[in-house]
């Protein structure tokens, strides 16, 4: 007879090892089954995937989330490091250099914080941030982020579909667009003193764009609450659009009949359109959008990678723009 030498347990992949957080919860599960709330417990048990997904950096308050079931919620690309995600930010309220927000955003106070949901809705409401956080189950989603400047990242966000909020406030028939307004407080945000943009920062979506499951209202990343420089305490994440379309540090969500004039349209109408969908075939007037540099991943001398139509989310969003001339509606 032939025996393999005993080398202890061998695992083909590290990912097959049950994460500690998961096995430590087994006892809880057994207890819960015993007490007859197995259904609720199973939902929690399903979280072991999410827990295995991203290790918390341990910098900020944890934010538990389940793995999202939304189509397109998980790209296979490797997420960027927490350090890259939180040190390379375009957030002009804290300065125009991408290193500025990480240095200066500590002055932002994210509690108390309210988000006023108003306009063409049957149930307008001023939400306290903690109430908004508990409005729907939090999900983890790993999205690609393509900046209009020609670079990209992969970020594990935490939040829920904006549609959860839209459903609850019941838009009227006149609600054709959704406008997002960011905080503009010169006391907390040093960049607001500059005339770079017309503050406050305003962004907008067509209501059908805002209602697809992929449109994420985000509260965290990497298993923790959002760092200030990433748009704390609540922001939008629209992975099929250039990054600037995703408003940060939101204080107002307004449902309106007419297309909002966004900050970047106001600043440069020939360069930044209302839609600003990621599109390798429509160049920015001053640079090509055909390729992108993946931060952290591509080496210094690596060729830039091709940019994908709708940033690779065509299956999820393509139908929104069927029949539209995307060169005209850039």
């Amino acid at each position: 007879m032939h025996f393999r030498p005993d080398r202890g347990f061998t695992h083909r992949n590290a990912s097959e090892i049950t994460p500690r957080e998961a096995y430590e919860r087994r006892r809880d599960l057994l207890k819960l089954i015993g007490s007859g709330v197995a259904g609720a417990a199973l939902a929690g048990w399903a979280r072991r995937d999410a827990l295995a997904q991203t290790a918390r950096p341990g910098k900020l308050a944890p934010l538990a989330a389940a793995r999202s079931n939304v189509p397109g919620a998980f790209v296979l690309d490797k997420p960027n490091s927490y350090a890259d995600i939180t040190s390379y930010n375009n957030f002009y309220e804290f300065g125009t250099d991408k290193a500025d927000p990480a240095r200066t955003a500590h002055t932002l106070k994210t509690r108390p914080w309210t988000v006023s949901v108003e306009g063409e809705v049957k149930k307008p409401k001023v939400y306290d941030i903690d109430e908004l956080l508990r409005l729907a189950a939090l999900e983890e989603r790993v999205y690609r982020l393509r900046c209009v400047e020609g670079w990209s990242m992969v970020v594990p966000w935490i939040g829920y579909s904006l549609s959860e909020l839209i459903r609850r406030v019941e838009p009227t028939g006149n609600a054709k667009f959704v406008e997002f307004v960011s905080l503009a407080d010169a006391k907390q945000m040093p960049g607001v003193a500059s005339r770079v943009l017309d503050w406050p920062y305003v962004e907008g979506l067509r209501i059908d764009e805002a209602s697809i499951p992929l449109a994420l209202l985000a509260f965290g990343l990497y298993g923790e609450v959002l760092p200030n420089q990433s748009g704390a305490p609540v922001r939008m994440v629209l992975p099929w659009k250039y990054g600037f379309k995703s408003a940060k540090s939101i204080v107002r969500i307004r449902f309106v009949e007419r297309q909002p004039l966004t900050s970047w349209e106001k600043a440069g109408p020939s360069e930044y359109g209302f839609y600003s969908n990621v599109n390798p075939d429509v160049d920015h007037p001053r640079w090509s959008q055909a390729t992108e540099r993946r931060i952290g991943e591509d080496g210094l001398f690596a060729k830039k990678r091709p940019t994908l139509m709708f940033n690779g989310y065509e299956a999820q969003v393509g139908q929104l723009y069927a029949g539209m001339d995307l060169k005209k509606f850039y």
Binding site: A83, L197, E271, I295, K304
Partner: protein, 220 residues
């Protein structure tokens, strides 16, 4: 004017220093410091999450700085009464060209992967890049005629006429920088460089105008 005469006492300690052979060596070494700094930061991963962008922009910044220094030689020489400064003009001009070539190489290599076809497609498509590339092309004949024999072969008048192209190069460089920064409506640095270039070129215009007017005056 006091030019040529043994002038202002404040210049006395500086003048002998400028005339020393070691002064050129020191300037050469100083002009290489920005390159060393960029290399050092690249090697130690200190260029941030997007090192390619940092190298392209960093080299571009130094083209503008070297250009301003080059253009400052003549006004400083004449206003400050430091004729010895003329010794350094060629070296500064060539370092401007050196950093411009580095800036282009950083773009061509780090941004375009040295794909000649992609570069040839990219540059004409973007006015901002075209303006920068034009400045590089215009600078080639200046760099190529920078040595003494070229000056002799061309003759001083023709050589000087050719090298006046540096004024056009400076304006193209400023336009390139302005267009780049207009993405963020961030013009603080553009205004600073524009003010310096305007001062350096404006001084020349004013001087030429005064010279012409005094030449036109009837002799008394």
């Amino acid at each position: 004017m006091t030019r040529g005469a043994p002038t202002a006492p404040r210049c006395e300690p500086i003048r002998p220093l400028l005339l020393r052979p070691a002064a050129k060596v020191a300037l050469f070494a100083a002009c290489l410091l920005p390159l060393a700094w960029l290399f050092y930061r690249a090697a130690t991963s200190a260029l941030g999450p997007n090192p390619a962008e940092a190298l392209i922009r960093g080299s571009g910044d130094w083209v503008l700085r070297m250009l301003c220094l080059t253009l400052a030689v003549t006004p400083l020489r004449q206003l400050g009464g430091w004729p010895a400064l003329a010794r350094f003009r060629r070296m500064l001009g060539l370092f401007t060209f050196f950093y411009l070539v580095l800036h282009f190489l950083a773009y061509a290599w780090l941004d375009m992967g040295l794909d000649a076809h992609a570069i040839a497609n990219d540059i004409p498509k973007r006015p901002f890049a075209l303006v920068g590339f034009t400045a590089l092309v215009l600078m080639l004949p200046l760099a190529a005629t920078s040595f003494n024999r070229a000056i002799k072969a061309l003759g001083a008048t023709r050589w000087q006429a050719l090298h006046r192209m540096v004024y056009a190069i400076a304006l193209l460089g400023m336009l390139h920088f302005f267009w780049m920064r207009s993405a963020k409506h961030n013009f603080a640095e553009v205004e600073l460089y524009a003010a310096i270039v305007a001062l350096l070129l404006g001084w020349r215009v004013a001087k030429a105008w005064i010279t012409r007017r005094s030449a036109a005056l009837p002799p008394t």
